[in-house]
């Protein structure tokens, strides 16, 4: 088991809203988990806890069987890569330098990347198909390319699990599909993957498991094709009368909103 979280409770302030209540989940090699939930439910918070960027108020998280409380940031980073939502950094590093930062867990504090690190980065850039962007400034490429660069950086980290925070937000349809395909191919290669998304179709397309986080902090997981039902969707998105229909053309269930 790569990630085992047990009974996580979390709120940002002492008497504030309880964002997570007794949340438990497990993730094994090659598994994809999509996390659905309304705005502000705490999907990103949950990812932050799993990546040990925040500490839960109670509960334990084990990565590869080891309690995260006893792990250094470096150890966590060599198991978990975190792909944040698109952002613009203050300085215009080249795509190569940006991806190279993924090698950080392997590099000492007074060291610089070695030629092995350069080779790994070059390999990852070619695998993802953005080798020709290597010398471009990260701040000057398109949103879709930036997403790919961030994924390349996550791979350069050589993790066991990759957490994506809304990987399809801000992307056009073409790039959304591209990203979903990359995510699926990653799981086929054995990475454990968690994504948060606002689109139930993405969870259906990715298959695997789906976790549903509601506004009260309750979290429920199950196989995507069992847990995603009209009832669940209408609970999560507030009685919107969403329809779930089978569409023969694409050979899967699709989620359709009603007419306005």
């Amino acid at each position: 088991m790569i990630i085992e979280a047990e009974k996580l409770n979390f709120s940002y302030t002492k008497n504030g809203r309880q964002i997570l209540r007794d949340v438990s989940l497990t993730l094994q090699e090659g598994e994809i988990m999509s996390i659905l939930g309304p705005n502000g439910a705490g999907k990103s918070t949950l990812l932050n806890l799993l990546a040990v960027l925040n500490q839960p108020n109670s509960g334990t998280i084990k990565l590869c069987g080891k309690d995260t409380k006893k792990m250094k940031p470096r150890e966590v980073a060599s198991i978990i890569s975190y792909v944040p939502q698109n952002h613009t950094p203050a300085f215009s590093y080249t795509v190569f330098d940006f991806v190279l930062m993924g090698r950080a867990p392997k590099i000492g504090m007074f060291e610089k990347p070695s030629s092995t690190d350069f080779e790994i980065v070059q390999q990852v850039l070619e695998d993802i198909g953005i080798a020709d962007l290597a010398d471009k400034a990260y701040t000057e490429i398109s949103g879709g390319e930036r997403q790919q660069a961030t994924i390349a950086r996550a791979l350069a980290q050589e993790p066991k699990a990759i957490l994506f925070d809304e990987p399809t937000a801000h992307l056009d349809y073409g790039n959304q599909l591209k990203t979903l395909r990359v995510i699926r191919s990653l799981s086929e290669k054995g990475y454990a993957v968690i994504i948060t998304t606002h689109n139930p179709d993405h969870a259906i397309m990715l298959g695997g498991t789906t976790g549903v986080l509601d506004r009260n902090g309750h979290f429920e997981t199950g196989l995507s094709n069992e847990i995603i039902t009209e009832e669940m969707l209408n609970n999560v998105y507030g009685r919107t009368n969403l329809k779930l229909t089978y569409m023969e053309d694409v050979d899967r269930y699709i989620c359709v909103p009603p007419n306005l």
Binding site: S81, P89, A90, F110, E119, V124, D135
Partner: protein
């Protein structure tokens, strides 16, 4: 690693850009050497380049030469310490500017910002009020700078916040308090003698620099320089922001504190020998970034060299033009401000 299981060795095209940065550093070194020779010759007492080199090598190698006693005194006694000091201060101020900008992931921050300069000024002003001078004055300036930074770093700790914005605000608080204290010291200072000395200190000057003074702070300049360069790659990571740096496995607290300590030691040391000199820590990192990009491993040496050249030229100007010598900060401001505006204009697209 599963996606990388091919063992083929890949040609990596970063060699070209490394080569470019090294070439630029070499070019800057040559320019610096030329500027030093020029600075040895420039001034009220004219010396030819040939003479200046004769004196320099004659004295350093202990051979002596055919030059006059007067020329020797001007070159070795007056100009060499000044040149040495101005280059060192330029290098340290520019490098600490690079470090601060990366630590706070903000290209608009400079060494003056954490209250280092104003703290050091208060230390110096207190020493002047107490009638101290020379090394005591340097020591006071040093302690003042360090105290200011420690206060700035402690405020977020007391508020139990790890965030950069808290540190920035804390710098604003300390800087504001410091300038009021400095104002008070000026207010109570004797306007005939002490006030002038304090004012002179706040505007920066290399006129009274001695080799002893430089010797007393040289290690607190050079050791942090080496440490900063050694951790330059991690400064890149730090500049990506806290949560990203942490998700990449960085021990933010340790890296940030070491980097801040180094940059502060460098700034405080430079204030010790020259008083406060503005603009260099802000403008030079920008200029260097335009030449070699934001990668700190390339940026730190390039910015240091450019800073050294710039401050040497400015100091040579202050003692060459006009009748009386001008404080350095006046010229760095007059040159730095429009130059900074020009840089911002050229970078307007990437900054917005």
């Amino acid at each position: 690693m599963r996606i990388l299981d091919t063992n083929s060795k890949k040609k990596v095209n970063t060699a070209r850009s490394n080569f470019y940065a090294l070439g630029l550093d070499f070019l800057l070194l040559v320019i610096l050497a030329l500027c030093i020779i020029m600075a040895l010759c420039a001034g009220k007492y004219q010396v030819t380049p040939k003479e200046s080199l004769e004196v320099l090598f004659g004295e350093l190698l202990g051979k002596g030469g055919t030059y006059s006693e007067m020329t020797k005194n001007v070159v070795m006694g007056l100009r060499v310490p000044r040149i040495f000091a101005s280059v060192l201060c330029g290098v340290t101020l520019a490098m600490s500017g690079v470090a601060y900008q990366s630590i706070f992931k903000n290209p608009l921050i400079s060494p003056d910002f954490l209250g280092v300069s104003s703290g050091a000024c208060i230390g110096a002003a207190v020493a002047i009020l107490m009638g101290l001078s020379g090394l005591y004055l340097s020591a006071f300036a040093f302690i003042g700078g360090i105290v200011a930074v420690l206060t700035t770093i402690m405020i977020p700790t007391i508020m139990r916040s790890d965030s950069n914005i808290m540190l920035v605000l804390s710098g604003v608080i300390v800087g504001g308090a410091m300038s009021s204290i400095l104002g008070f010291i000026k207010y109570v200072a004797d306007p005939e003698t002490e006030l002038a000395a304090i004012t002179y200190w706040t505007m920066g000057s290399f006129s009274y620099v001695t080799l002893d003074e430089i010797g007393s702070v040289i290690w607190t300049m050079i050791i942090p320089m080496v440490v900063l360069f050694a951790m330059s790659w991690w400064l890149d990571i730090l500049s990506m922001g806290e949560s990203e740096a942490r998700s990449l496995g960085a021990n933010i607290k340790v890296i940030r504190n070491i980097a801040i300590a180094c940059a502060t030691l460098m700034t405080a040391s430079s204030v010790c020998i020259s008083g406060t000199i503005g603009w260099i820590g802000l403008v030079i990192p920008h200029f260097a970034r335009m030449l070699v990009g934001p990668n700190n491993t390339k940026l730190i040496p390039a910015a240091g060299l450019i800073g050294g050249i710039f401050l040497l030229l400015v100091d040579t100007l202050t003692r060459s033009i006009g009748v009386a010598e001008m404080p350095v900060s006046i010229l760095t401001g007059l040159i730095g401000a429009p130059f900074y505006a020009l840089l911002l204009y050229r970078q307007r697209k990437t900054l917005s």
